[in-house]
Amino acid sequence: MTGQTAISTDATAPSRSQIDTVLRAILRDVLGLEEAQVEEFSGDTGLFGHLPELDSMAVAGLLTEMEDRLGIVIEDEDVDGEMLETYGGLLAFAEAKSVES
């Protein structure tokens, strides 16, 4: 919908680095960061619970964008503190979901 970085839907399972790129682009948009800043995110970089601006509404927007741009469906039951807490957790979740879909 936004015309931002997205994975084409006709591709077979997207590669790890593709998912990583899309996820960083979404976080850049949500957090209003420069590309260089999100490039510095590591697996341990704290997200929900660590960044005060990332409230429940912002997280909801983030998950909706992940669904749109990664072509995945995120169920209520999937969403827990662990997957949202760090960049590594979110990336691992997105990868697992992409394999499923």
């Binding site: 936004t2 015309g3 931002q4 948009d29 209003g32 912002a58 909801a60 209520d76 969403v79």
Partner: protein, 228 residues
């Protein structure tokens, strides 16, 4: 030029309420009604909407941003509003301010009067807007150690209304949002984010503005209106 004025949109009771309208009115011919995003996305983009109006003013276009009942500075209770009522208010505003065109952003496109020349910037359907708000509520509940299910909440909301992410929505609003689609016709010019550059401001965790995006959007809208 007075930036703020008031207008009297309809209420569900059949009465009217007094609301604010922000306007850049120099009695020029191209006149535009701005329908901003809804709920949380409205808050995130309020500054940007005003920025867009300033750029339109510089480009020779008059523009009007009326508060709908229950929105922005309105004292009317949000829980008694509905999309139907807001559509009626938008339709009245179009005539009252003698606007030839509409610029609708995100959920604002759900309120655009049909068969009116319009620019829809990244229009949104109602369902995903509702879904994001339901999700925000279940995430917040989980943080607080409560377990809530979106489906159960939604069933409750359809009957009794529901407070979602701080927004008290009535049953009519929830039922209408579930089905609402922007009416895109031959008179609609769709504007995608890529045309403006930058990233979508309604997605930001914190409200923000971007003068370059506002400039790009105003240029597209002004060119379209002045050519018409």
């Amino acid at each position: 030029m007075t930036l703020y004025d008031s207008w009297r949109p309809p209420l569900p009771s059949g009465k009217r309420t007094e609301e604010i309208v922000l306007r850049f009115d120099r009695a020029r011919e191209p006149r535009l009604l701005l329908l901003p995003p809804l709920f949380d996305e409205h808050n995130k983009t309020r500054h940007q909407c005003v920025e867009i109006m300033r750029k339109l003013d510089e480009a020779g276009v008059d523009s009007f941003l009326p508060d709908l009942p229950g929105c922005n500075e309105s004292l009317a209770p949000l829980e008694s509003q509905s999309l139907t009522l807001w559509r009626e208010a938008a339709h009245e505003a179009l005539a009252l301010f003698r606007c030839s065109h509409v610029l609708a952003i995100r959920g604002g496109a759900l309120l655009a009067p049909p068969r009116t020349p319009a620019f829809f910037y990244t229009p949104a359907q109602g369902k995903p807007l509702l879904r994001a708000m339901l999700r925000a509520r279940t995430i917040a509940a989980r943080e607080a150690g409560r377990e809530e299910k979106a489906e159960t909440l939604l069933a409750q909301g359809r009957e009794q209304g529901l407070e979602l992410a701080g927004w008290p929505l009535g049953a009519a609003m929830i039922r209408e949002l579930e089905a609402a689609e922007p009416a895109i016709g031959p008179e609609t010019r769709l504007i995608e984010q890529v045309e403006l550059g930058g990233s979508p401001l309604w997605l930001r965790a914190e409200p923000d503005d971007d003068p370059r995006q506002a400039e790009a959007l105003a240029r597209i809208v002004a060119a379209g209106m002045l050519a018409a």
